[in-house]
Symmetry: D2
Subunit: 369 residues, 4 copies
């Protein structure tokens, strides 16, 4: 169970002064605490240190809390999403300076290695998803962000931080892994399996391409209701095991052009592979912990594509434009707000998402407090 | 075991006169005969009847003989590859006439339905792979070909039929399902698992895009030797189970850009999914009879794509140009030649491919004999 | 000036009985008449004869009336857009029968030739844009449509014909030549030069891809007002010659991602080439009668693409889905309605578009009249 | 006329010690000298200083010598191609160190700005083509290269420098602007207008995609002979003005799939636009100094694309792999070799290319001399 006992400081981590800050520290499966930690300093010349003003909690953080992510060890500060103000930069940082307001990408990218040059920032040879994973993260008053020039984004001073913090991870993830990989086209029939925050973010961003129908599949009627408000055209509660039959019935047995997997378990992947039309695309977003059975004996001749992707956040500049123009309204995903100092309570709420009707929870730590 | 007893005529099949012809008839698992059959006539207005001059045997025909393809019933004339001369056409046929020399696509396509208009001829609503499957096929003196206007291709009178009959199925299959789906690019590292005819055809056509390295993986050293002659840069005999380790060693642990599955069993699919680089493409060509385990717990964050496809033969016009220009030499795949009348023996040879060192076997039935 | 004197029957045209119908006949530059003509019959086996229930007039028809389209000769029935009911079909037609309600594509495509197989129906070797051009067209009570199977589209009996007749030409033209060729992407800045019906159709269909901004450029304030209602985010009246400067000012000197030319004269093409961002796409829709100066001395290093296209109408199935789902509302382009019998007056109105504030005019000829 | 008088040192340029080096200095139209210049030092923290071991002369350098490139001012050291050994690096450089052997890209790219992140390095907001243009270049014993991490490429110590120096500019230019923009596909018919070094480099790299035919068009029979050796399938001497007719005759009036403009004058652009097939791509590589007439009155309905591009050199890693694997042999473009100290003579030879039968000239400055 989550606790608030103090957790021993990590062996690896931040160069620090004697100054401290408060941070959410992982203490091994089921254990976390909001506690004093050394305040980070610039360590590598490409680093920035950012004072966090807005953060949030990701479904992945819950996976970490269950012990599902072995790269995260006890003592780690969690969090890979955030907005803040630059406190300090290393000598290699050329495009940011103290006082700049920035969006922090959940992916740190050097911009130099072969994989970064291909736009595959998630597999950067010295970066990738490291924040709140192999280095300390953003659920803290301060965070050190490596490769700042290619991992932070300028925001205007009057930015709507609640909305924009959704661009750290959840919106680029849903868009890149689900919508872009799924090649959603105008007129398509799209099914999204999983109406949690990530599935709903896929729902929002799939609409950039004007599909004719978006079928939302989940076991939670409340989440399906939210999906209807956010643009789903058909709601399917899959609790009774009839989702596949119903999708096939709705599509005249043809199946869907695009199936987006937004859960990460064999059962939901199975729905996706069973409802794909000939020529269809199955875009996996979910984080899987176990293998799945792929029915190649049925699919070998169906002209389908199955894709996976760790978000590259290459779409952040495009998403920023779409928020600015009003075409994308990320705050629709926000259900709860807490002060950063109440993050222990925020975790409790987010972990009981169904009961609390929680989607994304906002954590604020305004500069003037 | 294959037999040459006469097999009862099929319940469905061709409208025919009293004239007969010889044909290779499937008699249920393990049974086939070269026997007299009614000679086909035009039945539907879009049909052509073609006198076969060159044909061949496909790996799929061996699957049929094992009883693996339930749509093929006893009494069916096999074969979906062939070249011949038009004997008669129905009233809807506008671009072919009696006496024209034609290449027969293994896929019959109406050209009108929604899926044909998308170029997905393999899923034509009134066609697809039907020859030698749900209607009588090309291993016969005559064949009825539906949707002739959009399923046959004009050949010059002096065409090299041995070479061009490879364009009925094996070359477009390897190219479309393996090379195009695998998005082979100049400089890529490509692995092809399976050095049978289809894998070797992938090897030939992958070279259209100038990959830097092509690793050929098989258990048969003779086939690997052939692969070396046809352009493979590295040969890996996977009999000892070390193929994955060796590919990873050869690529500095990075894996391959493209893995082409050209066998159709879980073990070979497994090699493919284990050697993919981040951002890699796994293009499945093999006909699978069983599900496979897909290791999404390892692959969910690897930015990969897995594709399947039943050949559409949309690439036949391109391949014809490449043969004509000398860039593609399909006869490199031919190891044995028989008269069509010796097809029973040809099947024996082809079925013992390893021992006979057989790749593609040519069946000829010249007009002047 | 247009007249209503009877125009001599054309030398080429329709096989016909003695039955007559009324049709709009071109009589050479400036001359047209609504007059009795022989009623068309099936001539070629792939033909359908359609009783027109809804038609419209295209900007191209006005060009024809000015004598700008030399392939159209006196005696020709004009019109290449229409919806109707099948009256008769030839023996090759397999997917339509008498009584079917159909949308007529402005492009007739055989579906068989090499160019049709590439989806370039506009360049079909025995079709293309021929209706109301080299064969009699749709501004008549009846029309003969060649290649019916691949040039007509089924409509439900309760179809909204006014809306759907926009899918014969104007919407696929704007979408394929402007939006698809321009590769409009979410977040893009798009400029459309020309707010006539075709430019407004580009405006409607560009929104399928959620650009951040759409700048509409025209000399007519009324049309710009309509553009604002249809989704333009910025209106620029180019009458004062400052359009280029204003676009550059609005885009921080960067220029636009996509410029869509929807007029067809050197001055509007010139605006387009002057406002393109590095990496931008200039998609030409306009029918040009004269060469333009292309400023390669400025553009050679700007990483741009310029495209042209005669509409292929390959997008009609997609557009039908989008109308059905409510994502596309073509009736927004309709300003005037006439009975087909009043087509002479409809031409007058359409030819005085600015004064009449006319966009698309609907011509109706209901079955029950 | 070129001279070897000493040219006054430039107002802007390199921070330097008192040490000098020899360099080729532009002195205004027609004037150049190989003279002593201050040896460059690291100025900005992302700089490297490279001791040049191999360089070459580009057609663009000849344009500069004619005064055609106004951004180049008297006193500038020319040259934007080269290989060398790192002498010093600034504090921001993280992937190179003193002693590393490197290929210098002709384009300097920060890797951080919005345009670099789109892969459009040529339009980098603080880089682009600046070497030998707005800052001192590579035809010198030493050069300062900005944005070293994203503008230099590691080479092995035993690299074939003659071959690889072709990857600084000419090969990526021909490949990216000509072959990639032209979307050369297997089986295509490609015409290249201009058989100078850049056209021949397009010829070499077009073959990565196995076109069926490559027509080479030039006025110089010697260059056409070279083209035949490098893979051209048809040679057309356009001196008699019949090139367009001959291409149309050779293609059955259809025209070519891809026309690559590799000269940069209206006459050659005109050939390209006159020989394009419906659906064809015109890829401009040439540096144009004047506008061209674009015949939109003929092309508006031809479904064509015209592209321009300043080389991004994004293809250098791919080209390095292709050289290493033997698929690309850049030394075929080399005709003359000089010591760097004889560069004045090398310019004379290169400027009289037709008479000297010169293509690329190599300038060497080995470390051990």
């Amino acid at each position: 169970m989550p606790t608030s006992e103090t957790i021993a400081a990590p062996g690896t981590g931040n160069v620090s002064t004697n100054e401290t800050m408060k941070a959410l520290v992982y203490g091994g499966p089921g254990k976390r605490a909001w506690q004093a930690m050394p305040r980070p300093l610039v360590r590598d010349p490409g680093d920035a240190v950012v004072r966090i003003t807005t953060s949030t909690i990701c479904g992945t953080d819950l996976h970490i809390m269950k012990g599902d992510v072995p790269t995260v060890t006890a003592g780690r500060i969690l969090g890979h999403e955030g907005i803040g103000v630059i406190e300090a930069v290393g000598p290699l940082v050329s495009t940011f300076r103290k006082g700049d307001r920035v969006l922090i990408s959940c992916v740190s990218a050097c911009g130099i290695c072969d994989l970064c040059r291909k736009g595959m920032y998630s597999h950067c040879r010295t970066g990738g998803w490291i924040l709140g994973n192999t280095i300390d993260g953003t659920q803290a008053e301060y965070v050190r962000t490596p490769h700042a020039d290619t991992s932070l984004y300028h925001l205007p001073a009057d930015a709507d931080e609640e909305a924009l913090v959704m661009l750290s991870d959840i919106l680029p993830t849903a868009f890149e892994c689900g919508v872009l990989n799924g090649k959603v086209q105008p007129g398509d029939t799209v099914a999204i399996v999983g109406a949690g925050p990530i599935g709903l973010a896929a729902l929002l961003t799939a609409q950039f391409y004007s599909p004719a129908a978006i079928l939302m599949i989940d076991v939670d009627d409340n989440r399906l209701r939210v999906a209807a408000e956010l643009g789903a055209t058909t709601l399917i509660n899959s609790a009774d095991g009839s989702a596949v039959q119903r999708v096939l019935a709705l599509t005249g047995a043809a199946g869907v052009d695009v199936a987006i997997e937004a859960v990460g378990i064999p059962a939901t992947f199975d729905i996706c592979q069973s409802i794909l039309a000939a020529g269809g695309r199955l875009a996996n977003i979910g984080v899987h912990g176990a293998p799945v059975q792929l029915h190649l004996e049925k699919l070998w001749d169906r002209n389908i594509a199955i894709t996976t992707r760790l978000v590259d956040t290459a779409a952040i500049p495009m998403l920023l434009k779409l928020v600015r123009s009003g075409k994308l309204q990320p705050s629709k995903l926000i259900t709860h707000r807490f002060a950063l100092g109440d993050i222990m309570k925020a975790y409790d709420t987010f972990a009981n998402a169904a009961k609390e009707r929680a989607l994304k929870v906002i954590l604020t730590n305004p500069v003037n407090t």
